[in-house]
Amino acid sequence: MRVAQLTRAVVGIACLASGAAADPPPRVASLNLTSDEVLVDILPPGRLVAVTRWADDPDMSNVAGRVPASAVRLPRADLERLIALAPDLVVVSEFTDADFLHLLDTSSLRHHRLRGLASLDGIREAILELGRVVGSDEAAAGLVRRYDAVLAQLARRLEGTVRPRVLYWADPHTAGTDTPFDALIEAAGGSNVGRELGLRGMVPIAAERAFVADPDVFLVSRGSGAAAALRHHPLLSKARAMGEGRIVEMPNALLVALSHHAATACWRLASLLHPDRVPAEPPAP
């Protein structure tokens, strides 16, 4: 290791020992869409130095058009550009590989890893933890209060309702337990067919098995081609739900939201599954 790196490492350790590490990192870089969405809402614009290129894509992001112009859009996890930006904290996803994290460490870049985003409780905790790490506890708590309020009101509206059996279809994958889709379907007043079938994680499902499961509703991402694939599928096009026109298409940005926007996603799906009980838009904050 070079002298400069060694010095930075020693200073870093000394700061940790003295408690100075508790100081909020002035410059934060985000390497995943979930943290893009949260950080845009809890950090002053000048402190967010980098986001992913997806942050501006309305098909993927719930903050498209709201990302500070000053934040660099990283087309990929480019370590050299990150080092040149010199952020005080890099926020990475659960799926960032350990070798890349090691390179962040050896480059003296501190990182925070988002975890537990497969459940609505996990998302709540991840937002609060991210808020603590970047020193925006209050702003993060504000997001979570709103998140909880939307989910609580949704739960009240759905009390006693009959739950349609929903199969998420991403040709040929579906969602079992321990997935955000399972959490979304259950919170939106549906019953996840993937869970019913004993599946875990995002896994492929044979068309015959999906057909025999006889879901009440197919849930697909809008614009992904999954709805067209279902309509033209030799077997699944003959499923009861298809005959009844029960394909629910959700905007992709909401469907994949693992941030506080997941509450809006639950609300929106519930409004499609239970239009008699849930209006299209969640209550205003």
């Binding site: 990929r76 550009r81 590989d97 896994v203």
Partner: protein
Amino acid sequence: MTETRRRRLAFLALGALLPLELLVAASLGSVPLPALGVVRSLLAGLGLGTSPLGETGEVILWSVRLPRVLLAALVGGGLALVGAALQSLFRNPLADAGLLGVGPGAALGAVLAVSFGWAHERFLALTLAAGVGAFAALLLIYALAHLGGRPSLQGLLLTGLAVGALAAAATAVLLVAIEEQRVRAVLFWLAGGLEGRGWEHAAIAGTFVLGGGAALGLLARPLDVLSLGEEEAAALSLPVHATRLAVFGLCALIAGPVTAVAGAVPFVGLVAPHALRPLVGPVSRHLLPASFLAGAALVVLADLAARSFGVHVELPLGSVTAFVGAPYFLIALRTQEGRG
């Protein structure tokens, strides 16, 4: 021009090209560094003078770029060494590391590491799992090939193909069943690439490539004798079976870790020795080091292209070498058929 003069010129050219390429590759990237600054930083690393790069440039050079560039050289050099040795062993100028069957074994190990989440949680887990997969495949090939006594070269090769097919089938099953988010991580490895590799990866590759390469160098003369044919080699009192196994084992010892750190990087082992044979001749003590230098130069350049031309993602290194190697292979094949 005499053969000796041609060979000297080839070594001179390769000896000049590789350091120049290493310097260019260490200078270019997402954040360009001045070439002179890189040289002065390298000298400063040796205690000669001071570096003008500044803290950011220093971190980029020493933590990210240098290990990657050196790793590219080791990967290319290692694959070319293996290709040169196997081309002599099989007396086929189009042989390369793909014949060993370690690639599919390494791929299976890598996919297992990703599907069980080890690659996301443990540093070097993917590399180690790929290495274990490569060596497990090799041991299996060796054991199966020896079931009915001493195997012929063809027997060893066909066993390798069968084991490779089995490993590839298991890999495909895992890839279909694996979670969507994890697939992306393993696809980058399967397509070959050096993104996110550091000094530890370079150390692993360096140990096996330089150690295995040195051992192969000691076998240069027996390898030349073997390339005359088995009967001729036996008539010259060469222990044919033991030598063959030693060369085969050393090739696997190099190819396994190289595949583990870089994924699939095809055609390098074929192109480098094949292109150099007319220049330096078929004698292994010349061909092996020349192939090492040429393979190293080829992959350093290919990696530079991979990280320079991709906008949203890096191009897979394996695709870049295939874009160069596949047309070369086809031309070489046509030429060989024309001669045949």
